[in-house]
Subunit: 222 residues, 2 copies
DNA sequence: CACAAGAATTAAACGATGTTTAAATTTAAA
DNA sequence: TTTAAATTTAAACATCGTTTAATTCTTGTG
């Protein structure tokens, strides 16, 4: 395929193609942010990019390929955020991830909302990067719960393999509800954090439980 | 509209129209169960129902109207199930609702999966019956939590207005994951129940907490 | 520098789908 | 039986994703 060799040599042609491809993806992100992926029309995209329809098919692909490229870029960014959140103490680890995610989404809220909706619907998140973003992202809460048991914060009465996915579910549901417009990014922060802290509280030893309760109280009073 | 007077008189015409309308909706449900709402083609539906395309528009409407009718029927059924689950003790109330839902979905699993996916995507659940199914369905866990506090099962350290939506979220996420094919109906039962019991445990008094823990252990060991 | 080969771009069309229009048909009442 | 209204129908319309075949342009070569 010609596309695979984009930019491999610094020929005029390759550079122009790479530049056009970036233009296509940039305008696609903009259009998706405006009205969602379903409303993205290839003809509109071609007009906005100053190209014709078959050029888009040549340089990127059809609607599904465009979405796949955009989702893949997003997944890479999300993984970086998660990797940056492996810190102590336990509850700060979850709080930092949620805060980082919210800040990241805030840089282009309309786009990320539309992208998550499209990604969820297409099943692309689960196919992304080999084994699925779900399987990858759920590992961190499991590991963090294991650390919390070792640190004497959790009782360990509930296996980390049970508690971890529940915690990940709290974040996931909050993200979906934000993407679907049920609340804004502050609602996302609050909903995700309260859910995570509640899950932790269910297996927390008394002292840690009190810490979580005061955090929940602070989140739900204001 | 002619449709509104369907069956208002027992004329031959009215009866035939009502019968055809039912045929359309029955075949629509069948086609949706086969391949999902997005794959439902009006021409296919017309052929299956032994009618032509504009007749469907006359008797029911376009794709969105068809979906709206089907979703509305589903919401009525779901409300009936929820109303039937207002029982004691507290954890049995949630368990009965989840069990009833799973049994209900099992009667036509392919259809309900497709209907939930379509309903979630269209936002029809939130528009359904005036104030939205979400706002209605979240009331029961809130009330049940309030009763649990009064009964001395929960500490009340977390407001029922906070705990109730979290519990409803557990059921909602399990339903979505089932609809999206991440697990089967048994997985739905288990995921929903474990989530609900975890939420309750976060605010449970010791004796109730132990009851919940043994239930969770029974669910996650098998 | 001119030219031939190959690649990228374009105009146009194809196929599918939701929806609507206008004519034909059927029904209920006078 | 006839007439007026309503229903059903065949056909077309509009839009969209996608593909084909011809045109234009770039690159390497004689």
């Amino acid at each position: 395929m010609a596309v695979e060799t984009l930019g491999s040599r610094e020929s005029t042609r390759s550079k122009n193609m790479a530049k056009r491809r970036e233009t296509i993806l940039r305008e696609a992100r903009s259009l998706i942010a405006d009205e969602g992926f379903e409303a993205l029309k290839i003809r509109d995209l071609a007009a906005r990019a100053g190209l014709t329809v078959p050029t888009i098919y040549n340089l990127v692909g059809g609607k599904n390929e465009i979405l796949a490229v955009i989702i893949e870029e997003m997944v890479v960014q999300l993984r970086a955020l998660q990797d940056a959140a492996r810190i102590d103490p336990v509850e700060e680890s979850f709080a930092k991830l949620i805060e980082d995610l919210a800040d990241h989404f805030a840089t282009d809220e309309a786009f990320y909302r539309a992208a998550f909706i499209a990604g969820d619907r297409s099943g692309l998140f689960e196919q992304s990067s080999g084994e699925g973003i779900f399987a990858h992202f759920v590992q961190q809460p499991i590991e963090t719960c294991t650390r919390a048991v070792e640190a004497g914060l959790l009782r360990g009465q509930i296996a980390p393999e049970v508690l971890g996915p529940q915690i990940y579910g709290c974040y996931r549901l909050a993200r979906q509800d934000w993407a679907n417009g049920y609340f804004d990014l502050n609602g996302f922060r609050k909903q995700a954090l309260v859910g995570v802290f509640l899950c932790l509280a269910s297996d927390a030893k008394p002292a840690f439980r009190e810490r979580l309760m005061s955090k929940i109280a602070g989140l739900t009073s204001g």
